[in-house]
């Protein structure tokens, strides 16, 4: 009787496990298959790119007739320039975005000043309203500043980011008071405390902010499309979209090759840093 009961429980548990893994694997396939189809197709020629789709064969997900034609063609069209531009844009945004965000986050967490609640409400409200919503008047503003087709037009409007400011404020608020009091008593200025004491122990927040800012710029499309679509300043997402839609002939292998490169970079960045990325975006929702 007792043994039957244990067997039944074990069977139930096994059934639950099988169901669970079946579901987990099915969802993983729904994520991996389209990606592997794009990557596989990026190594095909224009003639063979649809060969394994109809009639459908598993070979659609693995490079079959390996060629680099697509990649060669997009690099001849300055896709390399777009990659470099986007790396530059991302790097500059990370450096200055962190400086702006960490400084104000520190002030909100540690300094006393008038209108603090009001100013912090400005920060919170700014990330409740998506930037893309006001993209047309932002375009008018940047046009009136004479910044269309310039690096500053691409970079400056995105430097102050409410989520980043919030992230730093949360992190700095947790730092023990003693660490700050000791150098202050010894006569250090707030700037010295910030640079010598706070920043060196804030690696997790700095990595989170860096990853979020870089991914944001790498994947940004609407704003660079409006502000700097010209070849000299063209970024990856705009280049992909131009290869994707603004051609009379469908350049399939080039669409797949450019899409592959455009997704490769953020995926390679998010996987090793997933703890920092997830921790960073969660702060905005859970503690607010």
């Amino acid at each position: 009787m007792n043994r039957d009961h244990t067997t039944l429980l074990r069977l139930r548990k096994a059934r639950r496990y099988i169901l669970l893994y079946a579901l987990l694997i099915a969802i993983a396939i729904a994520i991996i298959l389209p990606i592997s189809w794009i990557v596989a197709s990026s190594f095909s020629t224009r003639e063979t790119v649809w060969k394994n789709v109809l009639p459908f064969s598993w070979r659609a997900f693995f490079p079959a007739d390996f060629t680099l034609d697509g990649y060669q063609a997009i690099f001849e069209k300055d896709f390399g320039r777009a990659l470099l531009n986007t790396f530059f844009l991302g790097a500059v945004t990370v450096v200055f975005g962190i400086a702006v965000g960490a400084m104000s986050g520190f002030a909100f967490a540690r300094l006393k000043f008038r209108a603090k609640n009001f100013l912090f409400a400005l920060v919170i409200f700014s990330f409740m309203i998506p930037g893309d919503l006001t993209i047309i008047p932002s375009f008018v503003l940047v046009r009136d500043l004479g910044w269309l087709g310039t690096w500053q037009g691409l970079i400056v409007p995105g430097l102050a980011n409410g989520i980043i400011i919030f992230l730093f404020r949360q992190f700095f608020a947790e730092i023990p008071q003693d660490l700050i009091d000791a150098p202050r008593v010894d006569g250090a200025t707030w700037l010295q405390v910030f640079i010598r004491i706070i920043l060196p122990i804030s690696k997790p927040a700095l990595i989170s902010a860096g990853v979020i800012l870089f991914l944001g710029q790498w994947n940004n499309f609407f704003w660079p499309l409006l502000v700097a679509p010209d070849p000299e300043l063209r970024v990856v997402q705009v280049a992909v979209s131009i290869i994707g839609i603004e051609q009379q002939v469908h350049l399939w292998e080039q669409m797949f090759a450019s899409s592959t490169l455009a997704m490769l970079v953020p995926v390679l960045l998010i996987l090793p840093f997933q703890r920092y990325y997830v921790g960073g975006i969660l702060g905005s929702g859970l503690k607010g």
């Binding site: 794009i38 006393k112 006001t134 047309i136 503003l141 200025t189 997402q237 997704m263 998010i270 997933q274």
Partner: protein, 291 residues
């Protein structure tokens, strides 16, 4: 000493100024500018054509069938996509909250769409859903089922867009719910288990009520973000077929930057902004900490 004290008075301003000035200039001034531009007509074309028209652009938002149609389509789209994404994200979070061997690998795989841009996702799924060549129709037809038009028929296009953006949206929002589920104390779940509550019962009666703040946050954030959906419409459907995917941000872009009528485009986004602010205000009231 006195010099130093004077310097210290300016410290907060020094730390805050870059962020606050940038936020005001590039986030808040455009909001005001949007309302102002909405009172003029044709302000992108020749300088002489800029003319004050009062509230005419706002009236046009409600009277122009294409503009107002884009608001209606966006409402239908919102009412479907947001509850759908929130529901699926909750289920996905519950699934990856199971403590089983190998779960970290699945969590990492599910994070991949979050890293990929909406732009690339739209192009890739646009190709995969192509009626003639697409991967999905290849699979459907190889299984002996009839070919589907997906993005090329008014009855399926908006649904296809909803599916495409959920490929990113569901895994993204599930991260918030997973963190919420992990924050529920094991004592609560333990006592439910002792009382004989099954997994489904525990999920509905215990976990969902405890997650309500996060659910409210995600529902509002998702709604607000989806109001500004642009890339898949611009890249795949251009609002068609027969305006079935003509969402409001695409209409604002088309009016403002294709036809150069910044006035009506600004009126469109000003109306949308009022709706968004109302949503956010409700969220603030719902989420206000209770004392």
């Amino acid at each position: 000493m006195r010099n130093k004290l004077r310097l210290e008075r300016w410290t907060p301003a020094f730390f805050l100024a870059p962020a606050i000035i940038l936020l005001i200039v590039f986030r808040y001034i455009p909001i005001v500018l949007g309302f102002e531009e909405a009172l003029y007509t044709n302000s992108l074309s020749l300088a002489g054509a800029r003319k004050f028209v009062g509230l005419n652009n706002f009236i046009a938002v409600f009277e122009d069938p294409v503009v107002w149609g884009s608001f209606k389509t966006t409402m239908v789209f919102s009412l479907v996509v947001n509850p759908l994404q929130v529901g699926l994200a909750l289920l996905l979070a519950e699934l990856i909250n199971q403590r089983v061997p190998g779960i970290a690998v699945f969590r990492a795989i599910y994070l991949v769409p979050v890293a990929i841009s909406m732009n690339v996702t739209a192009i890739a799924w646009g190709l995969a859903l192509d009626p003639n060549y697409g991967l999905i129709n290849g699979i459907i037809r190889t299984l002996g089922l009839p070919r589907q038009p997906f993005l090329q028929h008014p009855s399926q296009a908006l649904w296809s867009i909803i599916g495409i953006i959920s490929w990113i949206g569901v895994p993204y929002w599930s991260l918030f719910f997973l963190a919420g589920l992990q924050g529920i104390s094991s004592d609560v779940l333990e006592s439910a288990h002792v009382d004989g509550a099954g997994s489904l019962r525990t999920f509905i009666s215990i976990k969902l009520p405890l997650l309500r703040r996060i659910i409210a946050f995600v529902l509002v954030s998702d709604t607000v973000v989806n109001f500004t959906l642009f890339a898949p419409i611009y890249l795949i459907t251009r609002g068609g077929p027969q305006l079935s995917t003509h969402l409001v941000m695409y209409e604002a872009y088309r009016r403002g930057l294709v036809y150069g009528d910044i006035g009506i485009a600004s009126a469109i986004i000003s109306v949308l902004l009022i709706v968004v602010v109302a949503f956010v205000a409700v969220e603030f009231i719902v989420l206000r900490p209770r004392h």
